[in-house]
Every structure is written in C-alpha cells, then in structure tokens.
C-alpha cells in the first residue's frame, strides 16, 4: 500500500512537472512567434528605398504629435473616466462603486490601452493606417538616420533621436502620465467628496 502511494505521488509529481514544461514551452514558442512577427512586419514594411532626412523629420514630427496627444490623454482620461463612469455605471458594477480602487483600476486600464495602441500597434500592424496614417511604413528606416529629430516632450527626452527608437522611454512616459492622471482624479474625487459627498451633510465637518 505504502509503495503504491509513493508511486502515485511520483506519478502526480511527474504529471505536474510535464504540465509546467508544456506551459513554458508554449510561452517560449509564443514569444518566438511574436518576435518573428515583429521582425517580419519590420522587414516587410520597410520600403526598398532609404527615406530622405526631410521625410524622416516629417514622419517623426507626426509621430511626436500623436505622442503628445497620448500624453495628454493619459493625463485627462483617468480624470474624465473617474468622473463620468461612476454615476452612470456605479450602480451596476461593484468596482466602479469603490471610489479609491476604481481610480487605480481605471488608470491602469487607460495606461494599458494607450501603451498598446501607441507602442505595440505600429510594430504589429505597421504605420500608414488609422491614427498612424500620417506616418509612412518607411519610418522604421529612419531609426539609423540623423535627421535632427526633436525628441520626446519637445526635446526634453532623447533630443536628436527618432521617437520610434525611444519606445522604452515612450512607454515609461505614457505610464507616468496615467499615474499622474490617476493622482489628479484622486484629488478631484477628494475635493468633490468634501463638497458634495457625505461629509458635506454632517454638521461640524468643514468642507
């Protein structure tokens, strides 16, 4: 009986180990496929002719303009969504009825969406369409050229380097804008609570 139990335990361990290996294998294959896809899009997307400095400057400025919009969106969307969604959907969704947690959740969701759209989307589906219609697919070829790039945040970050090459900084700045937006939303919520929330109805509690 004892021997059988041990055997069963060994089998269970082996089964778990096999499952774990299979999981990591799938993850590894998935990563490789994604990387391959990115490379394929880059290679496929690049036009055979090297873009001129003027073209690169024009596309970089278009991309930077979009980036600035996304930064502003990162600041404003958490505030706007935290202000507009709860009165509409707070009665139906518990997380939207939680004044503190929803600031965190909404900011994280906004950050995720902005980062995916602005950073990951061009690498996956390429430039030249939708919001990136002002940027040509050949913009990837500008990464190695010196064309007097403005840099992120009007030259405060990475002046002279093409914006597309600075995607880690772009990601960090987008996340930072969302965090800042979340903090603003939190402050706005706090002010509103004191002026129109429960404490405003209690005598002896100053607004």
């Amino acid at each position: 009986m004892r021997c059988l139990s041990w055997q069963r335990m060994d089998l269970a361990d082996l089964y778990r180990m096999a499952n774990r290996r299979a999981y990591y294998s799938v993850m590894r294959i998935g990563g490789l496929v994604l990387m391959g896809l990115v490379c394929l899009v880059n290679v496929y997307g690049q036009s055979s002719a090297t873009p001129s400095r003027t073209q690169c400057k024009q596309w970089d400025d278009s991309y930077l303009l979009l980036f600035n919009f996304f930064i502003v969106a990162g600041l404003l969307l958490p505030v706007a969504l935290n202000t507009l969604l709860p009165p509409v959907l707070g009665r139906r969704v518990w997380f939207l009825a939680s004044p503190r947690m929803r600031v965190l959740y909404i900011s994280l969701i906004v950050a995720g969406i902005l980062a995916t759209v602005f950073v990951a989307l061009p690498f996956v589906v390429g430039f030249g369409r939708l919001i990136f219609s002002g940027v040509d697919q050949a913009y990837f070829g500008c990464e190695t050229l010196k064309f007097g790039a403005t840099g992120l945040l009007f030259g405060l970050v990475g002046s002279g380097i093409a914006a597309i090459s600075q995607w880690p900084a772009v990601l960090a700045l987008l996340l930072a804008s969302c965090v800042l937006g979340g903090l603003i939303a939190f402050l706005v919520s706090g002010i509103l609570v004191k002026t129109v929330g429960l404490p405003s109805r209690v005598r002896g509690i100053t607004a």
Partner: protein, 441 residues
C-alpha cells in the same frame, strides 16, 4: 395592539430562535416583546438577538427604534447557584449537612436533592417552581393593555412544566390588580415531541409521559384564563431528534421542515398572536386550535426571503458599502439619498456625543461595527450565525438604493444611549443591519 411571547425552557427558546428569524427577514410584520424564562442558560442565538434588539433602541422607550417600533427581548436571570446541588440551592447548606428531618426531604427524594442544577432541571417540574419564584415579579412579565400574550413551552420538561401555570397565574393576578384591559392569553404547548437521551435523564420517557399528564391536567384546572392553545406533538405522535449541545449555541441551525416541531411552533405562535376571530370557548377542550390552521408564513416564501436577504446583507457588509459611501463623490447617484442621510444623521449624533469633534473616522467605525455584528467577534455569534447556511445570489450596488431606509429624527435620539462615537456607530450599524435584513432587495 402589542404582542408578547413568553418562552419557557429550552423548547420555548428554540421556538423563539425560529420566530425571530422570520421576523428579521420581514416575513412577520409587527414587532413583538419576548421574555425568555429558563433555569438553564440562554442559548447563544437568543443572547445575540437580545443584544442586537437592544442596540436598535433609539428613543426613550426600549421598543422605540429609529422610525418604527422594534422588538424587545428580555432574558431575566433566575438566581440559581450554577455549580451547586439542588439540596444546597434549596437549603443553603451542603447536602451532606442536610439531616433526615429537614422539611426538604418531605418534598424531594434523595436523587433529586443530590442532582446538580447547572444543566437544567431534568424534567422535574416541582423543582422548577420552587427554585424560580423570583421570576414572577419580573418587569418584562408585567401585563399591558391591548396585548396578546402567547406562552410557549413544553409540558414534559422541568422548567416549563413547573413554571407555565404559575407564570400565567401571576400575570392574571397582576392584570386584575392593575386593571389591565383587553389582555388575551394563549399558549403553544409541546407534548412529547422528541426521543430523550436516557443517559442524561434516566427513565426519561416514563418521566415525560408522567409530566405531560400532570401538567396538562393542572393547566386544564388552573388556567381558565387561556383563550386558546395549540398542542405540538404528544405521546409518541412526533419523534424529532434533538441535540442539546447544538441547541446550546444554535449556530447556523438548519431550518426545520414544515411538519417539524419548532417550525410548527413558530407558526402557531404567530397565528395565535394575530388571530382575532376565534370566540372564547367555555369548555377548556374546545379552546384547542386544530392543526390545520392557516400557516402565517409559507416555507417557500421564507426560503426565498432567506436567500435574498442574507445575500443582500452579506454583500452590504462584506463589500463595505458604508466605507465606500463615505468616500464617494457621487454618493446620491450610486447609493441614494436615504442611506446617505441615515449615515449623516448618525454622524451628527456622534459629533454631538463627542462634544463637537469632527469624528472623521465615523464611517469606518460604522463599517467595523457592521462587520462585528454580522460576522461575530470572538466567541459571540454574529447575526449571520443565527440564520442557516444558504447559497448566496449576486447583488448589484443598485439594490442598495431601492431599500426603504428609515429617516432619522435627530431630536428624538436618547442621549444616554448615544454617549460616544463608538456607541453611536454600533447603534447605526444595528439599524442598518435591521433594515437590510427586513427590507433588503
């Protein structure tokens, strides 16, 4: 019209345990007063209910809640030395010092005198009436005008068998002395309805049958005041399994089926409390209510209400709605105006109790008090433990707004009860729980 239950002994307590649940779930409309009389300890769920109802008091009268009247549950203590033998309790001296000529030996045999009194009276009715004389004068048993009182107890046990007739008689006497008008007295009496454990009480069945005969006969002769009565069980007609240890705490006891004794008893109690049609019969035997009386609460409706109200209250407490409400800028849109006003009013009372200090953590105190009252703290049962385990259903935040929350008139609050922010938070939490259970959607 007011309603009172006098629950005697363990059986009376168990009926009250179920009756109070039906009331808390909003299935019984009118509030009631209840007095528990038992020489043994009060069961856990009744203690929790007593404290909870006490926390609901808002005005000067114990029955005055925030907006409506509330139940009042009294558990007068019968002074019995918990670890003593019957002989010592009766004579004041150790049993080995009671000599053969002591008058106690004329009434009680050797076995009874040597019996310990900390586990009930072991089906000896005579012992109960001798040891519990002080109970008859307790304020909670005083009769009132326009009142229906229903006595609930078994005629087979020691406590109820011995105390039922003297209590009814004492109330009748007070009624005449105080010229109380329109007092109706009724009873739910339990005959033999369970198989006793012969290890606890030797020759239990023989003793139960003997008690049943004696008590019913004495009731017939002495209690002409009873307008009507209902009998549950009887010799051999019902065989329910009781577990005294489980009943001691009564934690999450499952609900009984419609044909089981305590469920029938709680229905009969409600029927007799509210019934106004049956004419007074001259013959005692004609006053017995037949078993096919219309059940005031259907089992199906009760089960549905149980699931709904427990789910609502559980979500309300465990999702910390009061805490959310306190930090919500869109408080009226999400939680509604009435609940916000309710919490704000209690907060105002807390500010006044603390001499004008802001008590900025008041909503947290209410939220914590809600958790303690609902889930229990330490060894004491929470209100949640009084109800049986039930599968929960999903509740939306919108349901909170649809509840008919009471309106607080701050000028009517009893300042003695609201002496601090903590006391106010606890009473606010009790009022909120009372409303979620009775009116939760």
């Amino acid at each position: 019209m007011s309603y009172k239950l006098v629950c005697i002994g363990g059986t009376g307590q168990m009926v009250l345990h179920y009756y109070a649940q039906l009331y808390l779930l909003g299935l019984i409309e009118e509030p009631f007063e209840a007095t528990v009389v038992d020489t043994d300890s009060v069961i856990g769920s009744i203690r929790t209910l007593r404290d909870f109802f006490s926390d609901l008091q808002y005005g000067a009268d114990p029955a005055e809640g925030v907006q409506n009247n509330i139940p009042v549950l009294a558990t007068p203590t019968i002074p019995i030395p918990a670890d003593d033998k019957v002989g010592k309790a009766l004579t004041g001296r150790p049993i080995e010092e009671i000599d053969d000529r002591h008058s106690v030996r004329a009434f009680f045999n050797e076995e009874t005198i040597a019996q310990s009194v900390n586990q009930g009276l072991f089906a000896r009715p005579a012992l109960s009436s001798v040891m519990s004389e002080e109970i008859f004068n307790h304020a909670s048993l005083a009769p009132k005008n326009n009142n229906t009182t229903v006595f609930v107890g078994s005629v087979i046990g020691g406590t109820s068998g011995g105390l039922l007739a003297p209590i009814v008689d004492a109330i009748k006497e007070k009624q005449m002395l105080d010229e109380i008008q329109a007092l109706k007295m009724r009873a739910v009496l339990y005959g033999r309805y369970f198989t006793p454990d012969n290890n606890i009480i030797p020759d239990a069945i023989k003793r139960f049958n003997s008690n049943q005969l004696l008590v019913l006969k004495s009731i017939k002769e002495a209690l002409q005041q009873l307008h009507s009565y209902f009998i549950v069980g009887g010799t051999g007609s019902m065989d329910y399994a009781r577990d005294p240890n489980v009943e001691k705490t009564a934690r999450q006891l499952p609900w009984q089926e419609e044909n089981e004794p305590f469920w029938i008893g709680s229905q009969a109690a409600e029927y007799l409390l509210k019934e106004n049609v049956i004419p007074a019969a001259t013959e005692f035997s004609d006053r017995e209510v037949a078993g096919d009386f219309e059940r005031p609460v259907s089992r199906e409706a009760a089960t549905k209400a149980l699931r709904q109200r427990i789910s609502f209250t559980d979500s309300f407490v465990n999702k910390k709605v009061v805490h959310r409400l306190a930090h919500e800028p869109w408080v009226t849109a999400i939680w509604g105006n009435k609940l916000t006003e309710l919490v704000a009013s209690f907060w105002n009372i807390a500010v006044a109790a603390e001499g004008g200090k802001a008590v900025s953590n008041f909503p947290n105190k209410v939220s914590d008090a809600l958790t303690n009252l609902w889930n229990g703290a330490g060894d004491s049962l929470g209100l949640h433990d009084i109800f049986p385990p039930t599968p929960l259903q999903a509740i939306l935040p919108a349901s909170v707004q649809r509840v008919a929350w009471p309106t607080v008139d701050e000028s009517k609050s009893n300042r003695i009860l609201f002496s601090s922010a903590d006391a106010t938070a606890k009473r606010a939490a009790a009022t909120i729980l009372f409303t979620t259970l009775r009116k939760g959607i």
